[in-house]
């Protein structure tokens, strides 16, 4: 379970998160929508401790992420994150991209790591690209490789930050399909997305962020069908 309690975070003078409260239960799929600069990406990077917070708490399975005593490298093993930019390791093959962390972080043998990597790469439809270098892949394929790379650590949670935003339109579908598959398999996920029909499809709950505040959260039918907050209505009107 991920518990976000009154989290505040500023970059210099700019307060980006103004007291966020959100609990995500095991198996739940929560999508986060909202305008540019509303703090969506910042929240995700706070959850796995890539960014420090100013006050409040984020607790993952009972471990307080920003406590001094927390071993972040260990915590991150169970929180996978995939970014808008797919961030392949260009000097490694697709297979090596995926086996690196299981081998070095989890201490798996090469054979074990490769077995897992192959399974995950097949899962995302890249079973025939194992020895290719990622620079030879399309954006959609690189993004799916990044998803397989995160999944190879067998995380309990997956965070996705606009993973389709940098893709050519015709490649968006294949990545969304992959995400949908994960959701159906019961992965606990927080997704930031601008794909509204996708959000409506996969989410258990949808959260709307506005200027560092979670203005509204509810079932997708409610958020998209009957938004309560004025800003939610404006935002949804603007993206339709």
């Amino acid at each position: 379970m991920i518990e976000i309690q009154n989290v505040r975070k500023s970059f210099g003078q700019l307060e980006v998160l103004k007291g966020i409260d959100l609990n995500v239960a095991k198996g739940e799929v929560v999508t986060v929508i909202g305008g540019s600069g509303s703090g969506k990406s910042t929240l995700l990077t706070c959850i796995n401790g890539l960014e420090p917070i100013d006050s409040g708490k984020i607790i993952v399975d009972g471990t307080e992420v920003h406590a001094k005593s927390t071993d972040l490298n260990k915590l991150r093993q169970k929180i996978g994150i995939v970014f808008q930019q797919w961030n392949a390791f260009p000097h490694l093959t697709v297979l090596e991209n995926v086996t690196l962390a299981p081998r070095k972080v989890l201490g798996m043998s090469k054979a074990d790591a490769e077995a897992i990597a192959e399974k995950q790469l097949k899962h995302v439809g890249l079973g025939d690209k194992l020895s290719t270098h990622p620079t030879r892949l399309s954006g959609g394929q690189q993004q799916r490789m990044a998803i397989a790379r995160a999944l190879a650590m067998s995380p309990d949670y997956m965070l996705f930050d606009e993973v389709t935003s940098a893709l050519d339109p015709q490649l968006v579908g294949e990545v969304l399909e992959t995400l949908k598959m994960l959701a159906e398999e019961g992965m606990t996920m927080i997704l930031v997305t601008h794909e509204m029909s996708f959000a409506r499809d996969v989410s258990d709950r949808v959260a709307f962020f506005h200027q560092g505040i979670m203005a509204e959260i509810g079932a997708p039918e409610q958020i998209f069908g009957d938004p309560q907050h004025e800003e939610t209505q404006k935002f949804l009107a603007s993206v339709r």
Binding site: R76, G80, I81, F83, N87, F89, L100, T135, R149, A150
Partner: protein, 217 residues
């Protein structure tokens, strides 16, 4: 073309000089590169302000002519510290620091060229700072830095000719000794140049080979 009095003994004498040049260069490049990587990483980690003293120290080695560094270091070691060090040792020491100073800049540039987002992706997989450095940053930085590093190594080899000022008889000094005796400057310099070329060529080719291999990845 040349009617020479150069004997086999003289050629061996030149080859010995070449050997000294190779040795001084190899030692200095190896130590200088290790130190340079260390200094480069420290500079990146500390940031410009905290690393200012180190940067200043390294800038001295980059801005004072090598000849002056060699003479002053030799005098300092002998007269101030009262150490009886061989010229060879002083030469390697100064050239190593000289190499390290340039190498640190090259390493810093290489590390800076690795996208922050790539490093963040590595850390988000649970990799430690050291694992990120070892498996992601340094391999990628090496690809960026290699051409400059090859240039540096070749430069150090040519600059090593200056160590004659601390009584080390390397290739160029050996050549000058023979010129004085045989009075055949053009022919001897031609041979000397050929020696330098033979030493440099494999390194330059090796760099070209690596660059080509990596660009195919």
């Amino acid at each position: 073309m040349f009617d020479t009095t150069l004997s086999l003994t003289d050629v061996i004498f030149l080859a010995k000089g070449a050997g000294i040049t190779i040795l001084v260069t190899a030692i200095s490049v190896v130590i200088g590169t290790v130190l340079g990587i260390l200094f480069g990483i420290i500079r990146v980690q500390l940031g410009a302000v905290l690393a200012a003293p180190l940067t200043f120290f390294l800038d001295i080695f980059r801005s004072v002519p090598l000849l002056i560094q060699l003479v002053l270091a030799n005098a300092f070691m002998g007269m101030v510290l009262q150490l009886q060090l061989s010229g060879f040792f002083v030469a390697c020491m100064v050239l190593s620091l000289y190499t390290a100073a340039y190498c640190a800049e090259i390493v810093r540039g290489g590390i800076d060229a690795v996208p922050k987002t790539t490093r963040r992706a590595a850390r988000s997989l649970g990799m430690s700072w050291g694992q990120d450095m070892r498996h992601i940053v340094l391999p990628l930085a090496t690809r960026v830095a290699l051409p400059s590093w090859i240039g540096l190594a070749l430069g150090v080899m040519k600059d090593s000719a200056l160590v004659y000022v601390v009584q080390v008889t390397e290739l160029l000094k050996s050549t000058q000794i023979l010129i004085t005796r045989l009075q055949e400057p053009l022919f001897l310099l031609l041979i000397c140049g050929a020696f330098y070329f033979i030493i440099s060529f494999p390194l330059a080719r090796f760099g070209g080979y690596l660059e080509k291999r990596w660009s195919n990845d």
